[in-house]
Amino acid sequence: MTNPNKYRLRRTMMFLNCQKPGLIKDPYIYKPDSIMLDLEDAVAEREKDAARYSLYHALQEIDYRGVERVVRINGLDTDLWREDVRCAVAGGCDSIRIPKTETADDVRTVEYAIAEAEREFRRPEGSVLLMAALESARGVINAMSICDSSERLFGIALSGGDYSKDLQISISGTGVEFMGARQHMIIAARAAKVQCFDTVWTNLNDMAGFRKEVEIIHSMGFDGKSIVNPRQIPVVHEIYTPKEKDIIFAEKVIKEIDQKKAMGIGVFTVDGKMIDIAFYDGAKRTIALAKASGVYKGDL
């Protein structure tokens, strides 16, 4: 059975360093959809053990009020990740993020360790979901097979810092260097029916640039963006909330298609636009997103 959280709303995923109690004690006040409790890059090498103890007790004792708790484990090229998985699953995390994913086998390796941990800590089988961060040219090229690798996998995320290093380029702020990866990843994710998330924007002094980037990735079809500061959350949520005119149009499309289908009519117009069955799923998604964003007041 598919985990009911697999397709939950994930517009914002806020990175938090597990080593910093001040950061992980109450991030829910900023209302991100997900938090990314980081055991990897943000944690100093000699504090990896300390970060795990903090993570375990935070997961056990802090009420994150419905915010999804994703744990970023250390890379598969370290001797840390297996214990990270045990700690995260024992603590009760919702999902695990695999960094530097390059192949479908990487996902299956972690999936196996999660299943073992679920048995060890008596958690229901399949209760912990997975996402894969693609941080290299090879990872991006293999996006399709990675997306198809596991029933637990809810999505893939672009990690721009490492990806740009692998491509031997620097981040320009225009997004031009990520165009190919973004387009390829969103197509693969849609083909596999999983979600797709964009990389972080680290220049906190350039909120206009951030807004522009979110508008671009939203129009490309990304489900959400990784976040490094609470100030970025309302911008993303605003852009991802359907506008009233879009909601009204989507309602009309759904109702008209339902009605016309019963009458045997396949093509018709709504507000002057030619509509057929191909518009149905998009309209349904708009209504679902409006409901999830708390702005839908209709009866669908």
Binding site: G22, K25, D49, H57, Q60, E61, A90
Partner: protein, 99 residues
């Protein structure tokens, strides 16, 4: 658990605490410093002693400098310091002695 050497965990940042554990000959000695000693001193000491008891630490000198840490942080820092002081490596007993 035997405390073999001096070990430290945590920081003096807000919402954290700095825990130092040293070997001792007999019994547990706890030194506590906190800006909220009046209100929470007893609770912090309780959490620390319960954690040491779960870890079966019988002989140690423990110092905690608290900067407004939640219970979960005090537990995490005491456990980490104790494990380091005992040279513990490998799999952790999550949900067992660590809970």
């Amino acid at each position: 658990m035997e405390i073999l050497k001096t070990a430290v965990a945590g920081t003096l940042e807000s919402s954290d605490c700095l825990v130092t554990i040293e070997p001792a000959r007999s019994g547990l000695q706890l030194d506590l410093e906190s800006a909220v000693m009046q209100q929470y001193g007893r609770r912090i000491a309780e959490v620390a002693m319960e954690t040491l008891d779960r870890l079966n630490v019988q002989n140690a000198r423990v110092s905690i400098v608290d900067k407004g840490a939640l219970d979960c942080t005090i537990k995490a820092r005491v456990e980490c310091a104790a494990m380091r002081a005992a040279d513990h490596e490998g799999r952790v007993n999550w949900g067992g002695v660590i809970r």
